[in-house]
Symmetry: C2
Subunit: 670 residues, 2 copies
């Protein structure tokens, strides 16, 4: 398939700052002329024949929702995102829940327009066949973002409110780092938004806060434990860890788990030998091999590398460490590895005695949050920003719940962060591998702004004015971008061992080629403006598809990294630092060799060099370090200078954000 | 008044670990014999005659609630706190809200048993007279806590459910630091609890998370701004801070505020002179004079002192700083001072451009959370743990809302953290000064365990078994504690320039002296066990009272600190470090001299030395440093080695906490 087999053009770029729109009708017409998006569909054969036939048997279970959609009255020029969001009154979330078939006892309201959905729903709908699973991905974006969320929401508005097909958007909760830093929120934009957008973009229902609290409890436990071990004898440690209460000493269940891992099959604290006591009380963490960092949901670059423990109360136990931005639920809490003992054993959260407390901190965060689009159609928000440094996909649980709720002929549209090389590759090889789910359709979003950048346009940076090449028409730059980055990203979607049905793609390409594109107007018109896209997605989903993984998890870690680097990024080869090599050896020894790979790479280039646009080739991808998220279940190579803590620009967007003291309305939030 | 004029004895100590209770009836009887609490009432003359007479006019507005109280069936032995909490089914919070006169539109539910209450309520009930205002304080506690929250909740259960008087408890949201560290939660205990206690003790409605996010956004903004100023010219900074968008440059409102503070009355960005541009773009923060620390709601002692900015991306801008535990809403966001410029000017959150974003982050946290007791009576939870390092009182807004809701003859019972020297002194001199409210009754809680400690008993430490002196009867130690710490704490309550009505206190003392005490059983029986206490509080509240502040805010900072040290703590004098003196001089220069004082002192002694029990005298109180919380509106001296970041013990309570994977019930949370 060729790169110019792209199929849909969309007028209106949701990420154009509103100030450009306001000047007048002439500017708007000009913008509408070239600020469009190109969407590519790729379909996959469905491998699982059993699944297909069992679907047919249960087809009659499909029940169209009686959804009361909210009417839109789009204005021209399009107002700011927050003005649009505020002008629409959301339905009570309890009403939305009833319309889509949730029982009252499956809902926990958080205010009027958000609710947690209980996981017991999965049991109730166990025999319900899944709906169609649609992934929205993109080409390598500019730092301003290219509107995948807007496409996702426009598409479900079109499917639900206009084609009357049950459909759900599954989105990630945005991080407050970018919300107050550069990029703006992730609720969509224009007339394709999740509302109320300020609730979506701020604390939501507290999931990221819960993750932060759980993560930092582990970090505090690590350092405190090292201090206590450094300053107490085996006997004193044992007396405190297993105290005598009213003359009785007892192990807690979490301590019995640790004894079992140590091969000590005793349950009476008095019966341990001094050697066993010593093994039990000493995690003996090697300060240079702590892999657990603290997190904060703020773009706080000065926490990238810090020295802790400098107060005199910490008795000289200083240690160099850092903070990451709070991301990604590590959902297999007990087995999370936090570091290595001096004798080389992995030390887990359960060894620290903290895994139960983590589960308790996370008990509500594990439930997806139900919200709605501007047209009153359902949205799940759950987990996962930062496809560059984490896997950056929304949760498997939300997708599974939504697939059951929409039923056989319904649609679940989810989004993979950043370019297809980043979020989509991880969606396929990590998320789908873990969930067992397979996508039926992929929508690939490419804005003209990003295509121009890949075609050789000047650099785009957040906070700085956009160069004139991006404001005025320039067909050469667009063509350049199509033939480099877009072509490559399409190949990536095919490369994950997918045998795309070329005939179908070509047919859509002929129908919808750039010269004869079907225009989409969801940013300016809401779902009505994406009806043609929705029909194309429905058509693509009705065809059989085929899906395979890019790599077998059983090949060596280095080979898995190399496969991604070469086949996805276009690298000539990879180069491992000594540290990365040593870590890989260690992970192999410890039996972590069969985990999938979650690359931490810049999202601003297919390569590790953010300034290299288009589709670079021939480069050697440097692997600086390799981390392991054993709880989450992946190996986590750090590519080049990639940082796990973003920074704030000179003029962060918080300058414009305020609360009106009289009306209590938020101003300036995009 | 003498220290032995104490009035009530209460059987049952809510803080006895449940494992001591379980062994059998003999142990329980023994415990009930001496694990009691002594409560002292002090009343104050009401100064404001106008207020009193206006109350009479509006008396008829009082409307008793039609509250459906929840029945208790107390078990013996008393089960663990979480078992008791789980055995009771709370009313829907919407029902509770209706019963106490809230309108549906004033409520924002968070799940089934918590709701935020909108502040518009204050306007609606503007003309409603306030109810009675009761403060629960205590003597110097052991590290295990002495049950003030339990008394508070037992008292409102008795007042509401048994005496049928409208009453509200106003409590602080507990920090997750102690919840997973040492002390346990703050929901009360036994049959006097807020339910569901696990929701109370964990994330609640996310207020502390919001505070943490807002605080850390300021911290990130400070360091990022210093980096950008260090690496850019005036012109480059100006170009980024006031970018040209579509050819137009415009100041944001927050930037215009800064220009006004600089005395630059211009609104056109093109019109500033180079000197004015330089003043505008350069906060020129002195890295050694940053007063803003990061916060985390975890007992993470290794963050007490750290060095940040060590990654190469931060270009050598390293800085020694630290984290505090997340506390206390700083509610006057714009004027918060974050540090000092090299030329000696205070730099505020508004100078950083971040104050509007903070208001947005805090917009829901400003609303109190409604919950209920085990007997279905209302509770507000809002703000404020850590009376030792912050002011440690629940919010003024919650108290004001509750005083309106209970109405003229109702009762609002709130709690001041730790001993009367700490929380109550701050309640009087900071909180009441800010709110204009005055307490009608003070309940002073003293456990025998703490009295014994002050009477010369061995040290009590969390995580270690309790010495036998505390488990066996020892009248000498109790008497010693009464004549030292309790006597002194009673004097403190009188000392805040209050003319207690001695005749009344003596009358209550005669009625309820230790030899002839009225027993209370709220821990074992719920509100029914505190009915005598409730009657005594009602009687005390019906007498006129008188209230004055300990010091005039206009006297010099040093004199205010000395007054607290001498009159409250019993110190001979204070001793200021050179740093403390320099800071005080600076605060005086900057016009912060008239703020009240919020001492950061250990809660484990009346002095600065945690091991000095009883009522130490003759000591010199060392003032190590003095900070200023200009937003909150107080000066904040650090006494001795007091740390603003607690630590974790060798065996934190998280060892016992877990989530049952089948029932999803929490186990081991106290």
């Amino acid at each position: 398939m060729e790169a110019d087999a792209v199929v849909l053009l969309e007028k209106g770029d949701n990420k154009v700052p509103p100030t450009w729109i306001r000047p007048g009708a002439a500017v708007i017409r000009k913008l509408l002329k070239y600020q469009f998006q190109i969407l590519t569909f790729l379909t996959f054969y469905l491998q699982n024949v059993v699944c297909s036939s069992s679907r047919l048997l249960q087809e009659q279970q499909y029940r169209p929702w009686r959804l009361r959609s909210l009417k839109l009255n789009p204005l021209t020029p399009v107002p700011s995102d927050i003005e649009i969001s505020r002008a629409q009154t959301p339905k009570a979330v309890t009403q939305l829940a009833e319309e889509i078939g949730l029982l009252p006892e499956e809902l926990e309201a958080y205010g009027r327009s958000k609710a947690k959905v209980r996981l017991s729903l999965l049991d109730r709908l166990q025999s319900q066949p899944d709906g169609n699973y649609v992934l929205v991905a993109g080409i390598t974006p500019t730092p301003l973002g290219e509107g995948k969320s807007t496409v996702t929401i426009g598409l479900v508005q079109a499917l639900s409110a206009h084609l009357k097909l049950n459909s759900f958007a599954c989105l990630r909760q945005p991080s407050q780092g970018p919300t107050f830093g550069v990029k703006g929120g992730a609720a969509g934009g224009g007339y394709a938004q999740v509302i109320p957008m300020e609730e979506f973009n701020l604390h939501l229902t507290g999931d990221i806060h819960a993750i932060t609290a759980a993560n930092n409890l582990v970090a505090a436990a690590i350092d405190a434990r090292m201090l206590h071990e450094a300053t107490q004898t085996d006997k004193a440690l044992y007396k405190r860890l297993v105290p005598s209460i009213n003359g009785v000493r007892k192990f807690s269940p979490i301590q019995i788990s640790r004894l079992q891992r140590l091969g000590i099959e005793k349950t009476n604290p008095e019966s341990l030998s001094p050697q066993e006591v010593s093994s039990f009380v000493r995690l003996d963490l090697d300060p240079n091999k702590i892999t657990w960092q603290r997190v904060v949901d703020t773009n706080d670059r000065f926490l990238r590398k810090i020295t802790t423990g400098q107060a005199s109360t910490e008795k000289g136990q200083m240690r160099e460490t850092g903070f990451d931005i709070a991301v990604d639920m590590r959902n297999r809490l007990a087995r999370m590895v936090v570091g290595t003992s001096r004798s080389g054993r992995p030390v887990t959260a359960e060894d620290l005695g903290v895994s139960g407390a983590l589960a308790v901190l996370m008990k509500d965060a594990i439930k997806p949050t139900l919200m709605q689009t501007l047209e009153g159609t359902p949205v799940f928000v759950h987990a996962g920003p930062f496809a560059n440094i984490a896997h950056g996909n929304s949760s498997v649980l939300a997708d599974k719940l939504a697939l059951k709720l929409v039923g056989q002929d319904g649609f679940v549209v989810t989004e993979a962060g950043f370019g297809a090389d980043i979020g989509m590759e991880k969606f396929f090889n990590i998320k789908c591998r873990a969930s067992g789910l397979q996508p039926n359709v992929v929508v690939l979003v490419a804005t003209v702004r990003a295509l121009k950048m890949h075609g050789g346009g000047p650099s785009v940076s957040a906070g700085a004015p956009l160069p004139k090449e991006y404001i005025e028409e320039n067909l050469d730059l667009v063509a350049g971008g199509c033939h480099s980055n877009l072509r490559k990203q399409i190949q990536i979607a095919q490369l994950t061992d997918t045998e795309a049905e070329v005939a179908l793609v070509c047919q859509i390409a002929r129908e919808c080629g750039a010269a004869d594109a079907v225009p989409c107007y969801h940013w300016a018109e809401g779902g009505l403006g994406s009806v043609e896209l929705a029909k194309a997605v429905k058509e693509a989903a009705s065809k059989p598809s085929h899906f395979n993984f890019l790599y077998d998890v059983e090949i060596p870690i280095v080979e898995k990294i190399r496969t991604i680097a070469q086949k996805v990024y276009g690298a000539h080869d990879i180069e491992l630092s000594a540290e990365a090599e040593a870590k890989i050896d260690y992970y192999n020894q410890q039996g972590f060799g069969s985990l999938p790979i979650c690359m931490a790479k810049t999202h601003l280039s297919l390569s590790h060099m953010p300034e290299k646009k288009g589709a670079p080739t021939g480069f050697v991808l440097p692997i600086r370090d390799v981390r392991a998220s054993i709880g989450a279940g992946f190996i986590y190579p750090l590519v080049g200078t990639m940082s796990t803590m973003p920074g704030l620009p000179t003029r962060p967007c918080f300058y414009d954000i305020d609360l009106d003291p009289i009306t209590e309305e938020i101003t300036g939030l995009f």
